[in-house]
């Protein structure tokens, strides 16, 4: 009897010998990670070609905080999920747009609450290209003019939520705003009252393409995300220490 039947929690040592992990046996198993919420159990029929593991992320973009207040009255976000070539989005939207939120009625450095739900499921054969969420923060003044306030990106949580001890701790991502490359662009942007935007914000996720860019960070986004993974231990991955 395989020890991986039923719920596997950290502390339940896997006593199956290593070579059995790679034998595909038809079995029903329910696996949850540390911070798993209740989910409908799926029968995991292990066929010979089933070498995917699936990752389900639930959570929200909680709020945006600016220490001296946002530059514009209303703030809204546009988020996009970016993942590597091995990853397939099974369910959930890849893009999203939040509401226009403000904190003008309250104190200027109160967090601007978005409460934007994020629920996606990915399927993949390898952890390379782990999905990231790339958020573009836009501001809209009272007169209707929209400009960019910055970009923020984080990896979706790899191990459940951040740390098991402090489940209420939120992931913070700094908001980075691109600066004008030269003096002419600075003057033009001041005249037209529009900040420069990146043509393709995915440049920030690449290791070599962001070489000449100059960014200023101001403000941060708070996320609360947790992940449920299924099928990774069968493929031999050591998910928890």
């Amino acid at each position: 009897m395989s020890a991986s039947e039923g719920i596997s929690l950290p502390g339940n040592e896997e006593t199956t010998p290593p070579h059995e992990k790679h034998k595909q046996k038809a079995k029903k198993a329910k696996k949850k990670s540390r911070s798993a919420k209740e989910s409908v159990p799926n029968a995991m029929d292990a066929k010979a070609t089933a070498s995917y593991f699936s990752l389900s992320i639930v959570g929200q973009i909680v709020s945006a905080t600016f220490p001296l207040g946002p530059d514009k009255e209303f703030v809204f976000l546009r988020y996009e999920m970016v993942a590597g070539p091995d990853w397939q989005l099974c369910s959930g939207p890849q893009h999203g747009l939040t509401q226009l939120a403000t904190n003008r009625r309250g104190h200027f450095n109160e967090p601007i609450v978005f409460n934007m739900p994020i629920e996606v499921t990915y399927k993949s054969t390898s952890p390379y290209g782990w999905p990231q969420i790339l958020v573009s923060v836009f501001g809209r003044s009272g007169l209707g003019r929209e400009t960019l306030l910055g970009y923020a990106h984080i990896h979706l949580p790899v191990f459940g939520s951040r740390r098991p001890a402090d489940q209420t701790e939120q992931l913070q991502a700094p908001i980075l705003m691109p600066k004008c490359p030269n003096m002419m662009a600075d003057i033009t942007s001041w005249l037209l009252r529009r900040e420069p935007e990146l043509k393709d914000p995915k440049v920030l996720l690449d290791n070599l393409k962001c070489k000449g860019l100059s960014m200023e960070s101001y403000g941060s986004l708070q996320f609360q995300l947790s992940s449920v993974m299924r099928g990774a231990r069968k493929l031999g991955y050591h998910w928890h220490s």
Partner: protein, 177 residues
Amino acid sequence: MAEVHIIGQILKAVDFAEPHLYCKWSLQSGNAWRLVQGEVQGQSHVASHRLQSSSDFAQPLDIHLSTASVQGWPRLLVEVYAVNVLQQSWPVGYGFVHVPSTPGTHRLEIGTWKVAPNGLWQSLRERFGGGGAALSKTDLLYSGVERYKLQTLSSGKVIVELNLIFRKFDEYGVEFK
């Protein structure tokens, strides 16, 4: 072959004297390690903060290595450069850290050092002339062999967050308990 996935970000640099910084990083490992997917070096954008004196790089790392031996465990080398108004750049911090050897989430702080100026002229050049001295051979960063001739000053810290996923290590008898 056992595999290691390194997924994370070089988050930020704190406690440096200069405001505009960028970071060049590279991941080095021994002969038994092979890169399967990902890039082992990169350069971030120039970052500064509006209010504090820290620089947020947010440089994502996603590296897939395969190995036949535990020797030559990978190291992350970091070089922090400062930029001035005239677009000149000079190194203000060198540092490295070994990638942790247990799976899970790790938040690492890399303490960095820079080459100390050797006299009045070099101090003035560092302050006003766009930079202090740089290392000519950067393999001094990770080897301890010929360091005794070098005079260095402590510099700021680079904060890195890494998630490590290991695969098939227990087939080879390596345990992480």
